[in-house]
Subunit: 359 residues, 4 copies
């Protein structure tokens, strides 16, 4: 029996506000056991001291405990990404997966699979070992999603750890960096290269590539770092004939921060009116390392008052909002080895049924 | 003899870097006496303690002193606006005006006129008196630009003062507010309403309208506050049959922070390829006061780490950059009574001669 | 039978880290039913969008639920104050109160009483009604602490609400201000004046005094605002003959941000070595509204990159840490009507038994 | 004939306000040719994009041009340090040196000597070559100050360069780091070790010591980085029998951010009342790299909203202001190899003549 994915994009009044999700559970639109993953775009700074992510996670688990067994509560993938700069609107994206008992639109359709690596040692963060762990988890998640070919994977969201002084001390200082903010970038980068390995986008990964050779990147990795976990949580989204239903997913890569053309082309692939059909937009944003965008100087890397990832999220969020027509966009910052330097992957999940409310 | 406007949009390496302007003067492309106004988008925070504006002004005057008489150095309108969030690129816009001795494209063409109010008393800042002063200056500038009809005015840039504790003390505390950041908003708002009065967009201005009745606004005012002056410096841009040359100006109003449609319509009015024809883009951005954009919550007014005007500039800068194709956009923040709440005017200056380099 | 207060000052690894408190409960040093109040100094920005306060509160309640009945979990006073700028160290202060069954140092000794106002209407926040509510709650808390005379009250900690756009809308906009950050100041100020009324420090409270007449202040009020509640939570600390044990409390007022002399005098009143005897330091800090400290200009009110309350907490935190000798100081910002303009109350809780560990 | 130093500590209304210095020149208190160095504590963020330093420098040079020959204007040492967090007050410290024609208090007295290295190649910044350059400049400055023994040197202020992407490109990327903020730290550290070499505080300097071995430090180096120059500007302050007059200088080292005891001891060495005698206080502040202060956790290195150097300046500024009694303190951030990790040198310049106004 094929499976069918549903997607609920829900507003959050604050990082602890899970009421919109609970409403879906309470009225039966969402079955607790069907929850495959919950993504949250929370209104913190998205950098080191962003506690909205942990607050949201704790709030989700407390609510889910009223609907799920403890083991399920602890293991459902929760991917929180901080930062809603500019007019970006904080929101949840709940993806559910169920057996398709009724007749529904045949696939190939949106497919989801998740996996989690074992906890990493602090020594592994930002280094090849992390990439290999993520590669294995992606392959596992693909299998769970019944996605056989890497070409059918459209977006891989990875939640990865970061280094703290305390964690570095536990391994005698044998870490990639002592800078917490920098460790976030290396962790994201290593995770992205792991996705690239799993999707056959790259074959090898020399030890000195991470954070250094920006010409190597995955077109479909989206990685966010946080202090909340030591493992890498992987969510694979793609299409599979083993799945049915009206949801589809497509992706592209923004070559730079203002590459609206690529996104317009992506939206043009949506049958019908994108304003009605598109259910979710997931994107990566970053400040190009050479300080330029199409020959013009940017100041994101020199602003000591506002982190470059905050600048990039707000700006690229604007580019995308102008194209999509609303602000509930899952834009995360720090796109190391995710798309080219200064650019990043963009994915849209849309429905073939424009009147398909909430899914 | 008709006049002809030229426009030079030049990169700035830092707020004190006037070298690109000086190069134009040195090689004769720009005649010192022809300088009508210099606008600068500098990389400060655009709020109270933004000293890049004063630094840029001082740098400009020091350079101009090598080309102009002292009186001219002191009086050429210099309008500095701080804030280049996201990928926005710091730049100068020099507008020159000369008698058109050679045969050129006939008008009506881009016309510029400037005027300055007398210094305001601190008691007048953010109050009706300021609006009336600005109204009078706009009318004066229109006359100098030979723009007879308000309908031919496309964009009025006003540089206005702000209140400091010291200034408030000089009038015994009889001021609109004791909050410096708030005084910037009231000053911008009063200036905008003054523009509206001059352009017949509103007839009266009750004393309690400023900063309160957001339904009253000018469609063509762009106001920026700073500590550097106590007067209001007014630059009127429009079209006049008394001017010739290939430059034209058109404007629209963004209804909200993601109103890309209005800007697309504006760009569609440009003959030829906007990517080649458009010479400058001037826009106002702000965070809607109700905390929403098309029904979705934004966090700009609640972020105690980043000022709402900084958020708005970076985000709307992204919307515009995705449409225009580059990042040298003159986006300023704080659009009180400039366009509707959450939106603001956008103006483009373009050339009928796509090959018209630098002008 | 007299009561005895105990105080536990415990480190927190992050705003959700309640492990140090749970350790005290687990090994019996702290009895769950004895918890009178928990104060938390969390590492958020202490302003509007500081979610560390709510995260800490949620974490505390989840942990207490393992030790207390639901009603107790919901009603134990939890006062979270955000902001640990400079070297200030995030920590909990748990105050317990029990019947003194064993022979202990006779009083008068540290006494604690708590009360909570009914939820305020948004219309009441920052207005006289709030002050009267707080006055009544302080009197109630004094009675519960068996403190008969206002002179025996040393420190009143109030957690008060703030205004949001949504809350303002529920009362048709009939609110003291539409600015969330400003509402925090008015709420703190109104609460402080309420404390002053209860302690007979002022007799009347004209409606226009709040946030305006800075010459009126309470010497013992410490007020912190947050979005987490609509009521005012009051914790009264003082001394009473109805209490025994080795803990004592004394307070002073810093006349300005660098008034170390007052604090030295306060510390000199401690018998023995303050470094061993002092168990907790509670202080209020703020930026003087006239922009000066002893004739020298400060920039705290003009820094658009860092909120004035953050500046003040870090700086006054340094003044105090240099005197006290460590950084676990409960310094909160925004001292409107709490001590003079630019200054604020400081209170120390100390033990007559220097070897009295953890209490 | 001996020389005599004078010191003028003057308020600045904003980074471009040189009026207080000009007033001293105009009324003859300060002779233009006598200016040995001008230090400025400006109200920028003190990090990468702090343009108050360049603005102040430009303002000073423009003013000095009215009093000095062009060569002198260009070469008088101007050392701008950004960051006046907390209540720290922006100010100038002008040190003058003249032949002592009148009978004055005999020395040894405050002595000043300055020197500047050749411009560094970007490849040298943050590397041993920079340390050696600074060592040579310190020796040269000592000779100019007639300070023969390193033990008589009390404070060496160094203004050093930082790396930008553009500068790195000119040497094919052969630089110590590509991170501008990090390059400031390495540049400060290399400069400090150069001071240490000149003062015989260390003998060798292995190539991998800079920024790594925090146990190696100078007790009298104070280094500030900025984008404004490529050379290292060195100002040596100490005492010499070749100098006379009432000014003296003494220094100590704060072992950590709250080491008030060392500073109290230093102030106790001042004859008379320090409140009247002390003319200037110069100090370095930083966030300890292990995240702790006397066993308590600090959050300065994890706050992605406020740079650690800003936190440290404001906090240590508070510690010092509580001891000194005013806020015109020259506290600069980033004390790599300047004093121990988390601490830094503190120097006071005081007068034997309490009634000695302005000098
Ligand atoms: Ca990328
Ligand atoms: Ca507007
Ligand atoms: Ca106060
Ligand atoms: Ca140090």
């Amino acid at each position: 029996m094929p499976r069918k994915a549903s997607l609920f994009r829900l507003s959050m009044g604050d990082p602890g506000d899970v009421s919109a999700i609970e409403a879906c559970l309470a009225d039966g639109r969402l079955k607790p056991d069907a929850i495959a993953a919950i993504l949250g775009k929370t209104e913190g700074n998205g950098c080191v001291n962003d506690f909205t992510r942990a607050y949201a996670t704790q709030s989700l688990r407390a609510m889910l405990a009223r609907y799920l067994e403890p083991h399920a509560v602890e293991t459902v993938p929760l991917v929180m990404s901080g930062g809603t700069e500019g007019a970006l609107s904080p929101h949840w994206i709940v993806i559910a997966a169920e057996k398709a008992e009724d007749a529904v639109t045949p696939g190939p359709a949106l497919a989801i699979g998740t996996a989690i690596t074992p906890p990493l040692s602090p020594s592994e963060i930002g280094r090849p070992a992390q990439a290999f762990r993520v590669r294995d988890a992606v392959r596992c998640a693909m299998a769970r999603a019944e996605i056989d070919s890497p070409a059918d994977v459209q977006f891989v969201q990875v939640k990865c750890p970061l280094l703290t002084a305390a964690r570095a001390a536990t391994v005698g200082g044998d870490v990639a960096t002592v800078d917490m903010l920098k460790s976030m970038g290396l962790s994201r980068g290593a995770s992205a290269l792991g996705v690239g390995l799993a999707l056959d986008e790259l074959r090898d990964m020399p030890g000195d590539m991470i954070g250094a050779d920006r010409s190597i990147w995955s077109s479909r990795a989206s990685c966010s770092a946080g202090i909340e976990l030591m493992a890498c949580e992987v969510v694979v989204l793609g299409q599979s004939p083993g799945w049915c239903g009206p949801l589809r997913i497509a992706s592209t890569v923004m070559a730079d921060a203002i590459d609206a053309a690529s996104v317009r082309s992506l939206l043009a692939r949506v049958p019908g009116d994108p304003a009605l059909a598109v259910r979710a937009v997931l994107a990566k944003a970053e400040a190009s390392s050479n300080g330029m965008v199409r020959g013009q100087r940017h100041t994101m890397l020199e602003d000591s008052d506002i982190s470059a990832t905050r600048h990039a999220r707000g700006f690229v969020g604007g580019v995308l909002a102008g194209l999509v027509g609303h602000t509930e966009l899952f834009v995360s910052g720090g796109a190391e080895h995710q798309g080219p330097d200064g650019g990043g992957p963009v994915s849209i999940i849309y429905s073939l049924q424009a009147s398909d409310l909430g899914t």
